[in-house]
Subunit: 343 residues, 2 copies
Amino acid sequence: MKLENDLLLRAANGEKTERTPVWVMRQAGRILKEYRAVRGKLSGFIELVQTPDLAAEVTIQPVDILGVDAAIIFSDILVVPEAMGLPYTMEEGVGPFFPKTVKSETDLNKLKTADEDSLGYVIDAIKVTKKELNGRVPLIGFAGAPWTIFCYMIEGKGSKTFSNARKSLYKDPAFAHKLLDKIADSTINYLKGQISAGADIVQVFDSWAGILPTEQYDNFSLKYISKIANAITEVPVIVFAKGAYGSRKTIGEIDCDVVGLDWNMDIVESRDLIGPRKTLQGNLDPATLYADFNTIKSETRKMIDQFGKSRHIANLGHGVYPDMDVEKVKCFIDEVKEYSSNL
Amino acid sequence: MKLENDLLLRAANGEKTERTPVWVMRQAGRILKEYRAVRGKLSGFIELVQTPDLAAEVTIQPVDILGVDAAIIFSDILVVPEAMGLPYTMEEGVGPFFPKTVKSETDLNKLKTADEDSLGYVIDAIKVTKKELNGRVPLIGFAGAPWTIFCYMIEGKGSKTFSNARKSLYKDPAFAHKLLDKIADSTINYLKGQISAGADIVQVFDSWAGILPTEQYDNFSLKYISKIANAITEVPVIVFAKGAYGSRKTIGEIDCDVVGLDWNMDIVESRDLIGPRKTLQGNLDPATLYADFNTIKSETRKMIDQFGKSRHIANLGHGVYPDMDVEKVKCFIDEVKEYSSNL
């Protein structure tokens, strides 16, 4: 089906667009009262992720309410470890918790490599979403980067230092590579499943990129992101490695189409490091949306001026915070559209 | 009193030294069984901080056991908000909690500016430590940077995003500046008190430097660190701004003597940005100490080669993790001493 609005895909492919496309990380979520209404009827976040009709409903809400140029499937990066054999729970305000973690070679060998069908509820949610979106905007699929998933599989929960995950890179690099490779293979299958079901573009989120020294990051994370990017040939690939300041040049060499910048990455410096052949995505400081409307507009214009009109997908530099005012989020989106149209 | 070992002070002042001085952030703490023995007799961390004889005892332990070239007074950055009128509790594995936070101008106006005498227990601990150190090595005093203290005063506890603290910078910058300035004045008084009591050098820790966009970091954090550095003329000042990748050039222009690098800051790039006139401190990845002895040695040598022999104080790029093996920490320290002696 031909998309009515394919700005995001054309920008990802480096084609000229009439204006800069825009979406917002965590656009489907607690900022929307319509989301909270759906969520309030369920036992928890994971039930929402696992109920395709409702996941599709909240995926589409920001398209209707905020006017973003893409939907992103409502899901969680931790469905991959679940599909590999490590179920998790998610407590409001506490975060994810895995009762079982990977402590040994035996644990590792017990893990399955996820296949295209192993996350049926996400695949179904994508199918429902595509049908209901009816070609209005592209649908973004996503997965966590192997390094970030590895952190949770070793640690079992969030951590300030992820020192156990980091320990394993130094103590047993062969073990770490084996697990990372298994996660990468699972992620490739999973993303291919999402694409078969209808995802028009996919994003790989590396939330914990910033904790590794550059050399280790290249060796234990980018290596596997690169494997994924090489394997996904069907649709464009976005790589968002939060905090990977020292690896931007290397990320520019990966076979991906779009590189996401966090809010602390200098735009001009990043373009210089990444080179002219990638589309950049980002990167307004999410906290800007706490400011007044005029400040949001002027900061948005400043950002667009720095990125320039081509090869840019506007976004925040991180997910929107749950307590943010929808009208402020909308102000950012509207300003991107209006200002970039007149450039 | 003349110090037997003044390597750290000479390096801080840019003088030539026979070898590279070395200490370790969080050297006094849970890595040492001798620390755990003292701590185990008390009700909690805060009682230890507030008991001068015991704080002095654990301050000196790493000098005896690890052979570091400096002691750092055992205390906490959160004693400053406490002295300003916001007491806190510290729960093992949970972190700090402030029952009262700063929510309004009224709250702000109620806060005291700490004076030199308001943290008597730290001052006393420094006096006892100096006496018992008996000139063996210098004693480092310290405080949190105003921005990091501000985060806790607004948020009341740790946070992944410190979104409330960040919100206030956008919503009411005048309020934020007023509070930051009050914290800076308190910190100056507090550090001057530490220096009067015997601290030979002081370090300002900006733990949450990395969450602000560069322009805001310069405006809301470095401005106040600079005020502190200008006011402290008695002893050298170390500034450690974790994650402030975009502000290294600006930090190089502050009137401080030493700039701490975190483990992800490229050494050569940092020297280039900061310039030749500061001593650099750091920055081995703390997780390296999970590796085998040979790896620790080779990574330590690699780090020393990159810094060069002069204007360097060796350290980890962040605090040592509590579960690390003392022998590995010692291996790092010994290797710095031996390898740099032969350069």
